[in-house]
């Protein structure tokens, strides 16, 4: 359980990035934090593993206050997947890369080996075990970064803009993977501005704008709330755009999923 209590954060440069943010994330939730570049999303999630400490207010991860805990300690429970995998990769083999965090956390010998094998398997990287991560394609490097974070099985997984530069199929695979993680009981927090991706996942959606939370609720409701979306400079998902143009036919307006759209339209067309 992550509790953010009225957090303010100002960078050393003087920029006030968070202006009174309060939020509770329950175990096992799947959350998307959305907003324009500069809204404060990345600043907020960096508070979850202690990379940033609040200027005012506090953040509790479990029962631990992030102000008095080191990043290394918090990282054991909160795994962070950064946007660019090349900001992490430095080892000679994929195996070592995946083992890096495990070693830092004190895993040794057989347990270490088992965890590495498990993580490689999970991300379909077993054949690249002894390969240099720098020889892999962009998509494969992303999977290595993901494997290296999942290796120590953190309870919470935070992903910062995981869909950037990915094609449609890669996003599909990622989406299903995230759902799988969530089904296994992990709390998943995804920061993104990719509205279509979020619409297909339908998680709890939090909209941020200028350092504040402007909306927090079920995906369907938040992503069809035009006023809030405009405030956060987010575009309506395509499916919602379509239904916005059909309101005078008595069709619901909170539709963001393609298959739900199909059901509704099939029914209406079938009634003719």
């Amino acid at each position: 359980m992550i509790k953010v209590k009225d957090v303010y954060f100002t960078y050393p440069t003087g920029v006030e990035a968070l202006k009174g943010v309060s939020l509770t994330i329950r175990d096992g939730e799947f959350i998307a934090i959305m907003g324009q570049n500069g809204a404060g999303k990345t600043t907020l999630i960096k508070h979850f593993n202690g990379l940033l400490k609040p200027t005012k207010g506090e953040v509790l991860v479990g029962s631990v206050n992030t102000k008095t805990t080191s990043v290394a300690r918090l990282a054991r429970n909160v795994g962070f997947v950064f946007q660019n995998p090349d900001n992490q990769l430095f080892c000679e083999t994929v195996e070592e890369e995946v083992a890096f965090a495990l070693k830092n956390f004190g895993y040794k010998d057989t347990t270490l080996k088992k965890r590495v094998t498990w993580a490689l398997n999970l991300l379909g990287l077993t054949e690249y075990r002894k390969t240099s991560p720098f020889m892999l394609s962009g998509g494969e490097r992303k999977r290595v970064a993901l494997a290296s974070v999942l290796a120590w099985n953190p309870k919470v997984v935070v992903m910062d803009e995981p869909t950037i530069g990915q094609d449609y199929q890669q996003k599909e695979i990622l989406r299903q993977f995230i759902i799988q993680l969530n089904t296994q009981g992990k709390t998943v927090v995804v920061v993104t501005h990719d509205v279509e991706f979020v619409a297909e996942c339908n998680p709890r959606v939090i909209l941020m704008s200028e350092g504040k939370i402007v909306a927090d609720g079920v995906g369907k409701k938040v992503l069809t709330d035009i006023d809030r979306l405009t405030q956060a400079s987010i575009v309506l998902p395509q499916v919602a755009q379509i239904f916005m143009g059909l309101t005078d036919f008595g069709l619901p307006t909170d539709v963001i999923d393609l298959y739900e759209a199909r059901e509704i339209l099939m029914k209406r067309l079938g009634e003719k």
Partner: protein, 261 residues
């Protein structure tokens, strides 16, 4: 980082900022040459004080003071080393020894603060332009401005890499001296590789903008000498002449002499 803060360019408009960087550099060099001529404290103090009106005119007081603070550490080392080597033979420091050590330290300080004023009031593109017009080969000028352009980018990236590795349990402060150095490998390698990738992308972009099309590149901007620049040249030459004259023809009192009065 405070020493570097003293050298970073501040975007303010002031008459000093508008001066031709080549002339400013000439001025700083003449200050430097005169500073080296003297062993006595008095002329060095005068040289030091002469910079202050420039600093105030350029409105860079805060940063300038910060650069002095940064230089303070080295200044202390220079003072103590010089003092030590002087009284090492006699056993105890005399007033002359103290004056000598202070003069050496002040020489260093005059050097630092005059260059600090130079860098604080000269934008990197102004500097790059000065290099170009001084007929430095364009490749070097380009390398210089590109390096300056990317310093903040690399600094940000280094921070991101540190965050990413800390989030994987890396504790930079942990362990003995050797371990602490090894802790930086997960930060240096991604940084270096990213720099290499970046250079490749930059090269592609350069080629795509007709890099190397013709030998003689033209330039959007040009440095033109103005009245103030000519005045500064005059001032620099005067300082040199006066400095040399005083050094060789006017007996300069040392502090110990002044104290006897």
């Amino acid at each position: 980082m405070s020493v570097f803060d003293g050298l970073k360019f501040r975007r303010v408009t002031s008459p000093i900022h508008m001066l031709d960087p080549r002339i400013k550099f000439l001025y700083v060099c003449s200050i430097f040459v005169v500073a080296i001529l003297f062993w006595e404290l008095l002329p060095l103090i005068i040289l030091f004080l002469m910079q202050i009106p420039f600093v105030l005119l350029a409105r860079v007081q805060k940063e300038w003071v910060r650069s002095l603070r940064g230089a303070a550490f080295l200044a202390v080392i220079i003072f103590s080393t010089n003092l030590f080597f002087r009284f090492m033979y006699t056993g105890y420091p005399t007033l002359q020894d103290i004056e000598y050590a202070s003069a050496m330290t002040l020489r260093f300080v005059v050097l630092v603060e005059s260059f600090s004023v130079f860098f604080l009031t000269t934008s990197p593109d102004h500097l790059g332009l000065a290099l170009e017009q001084s007929h430095v080969p364009y490749e070097f000028c380009f390398a210089f401005t590109t390096a300056v352009r990317f310093v903040p980018v690399l600094a940000d990236e280094a921070q991101t890499i540190m965050d990413a590795q800390k989030a994987r349990g890396l504790e930079l402060e942990k362990g003995n001296f050797l371990k602490r150095i090894r802790n930086y490998i997960p930060i240096l390698i991604p940084l270096i590789i990213s720099a290499i990738r970046r250079s490749l992308e930059l090269a592609e972009a350069m080629e795509s903008r007709a890099w190397g099309a013709i030998e003689k590149r033209t330039n959007l901007y040009v440095l033109k000498m103005r009245k103030a620049d000519y005045l500064l040249i005059l001032a620099s030459i005067l300082i040199l002449i006066i400095g040399v004259y005083i050094r060789y023809y006017v007996p300069t009192p040392s502090f110990s002499d002044l104290l006897k009065l």
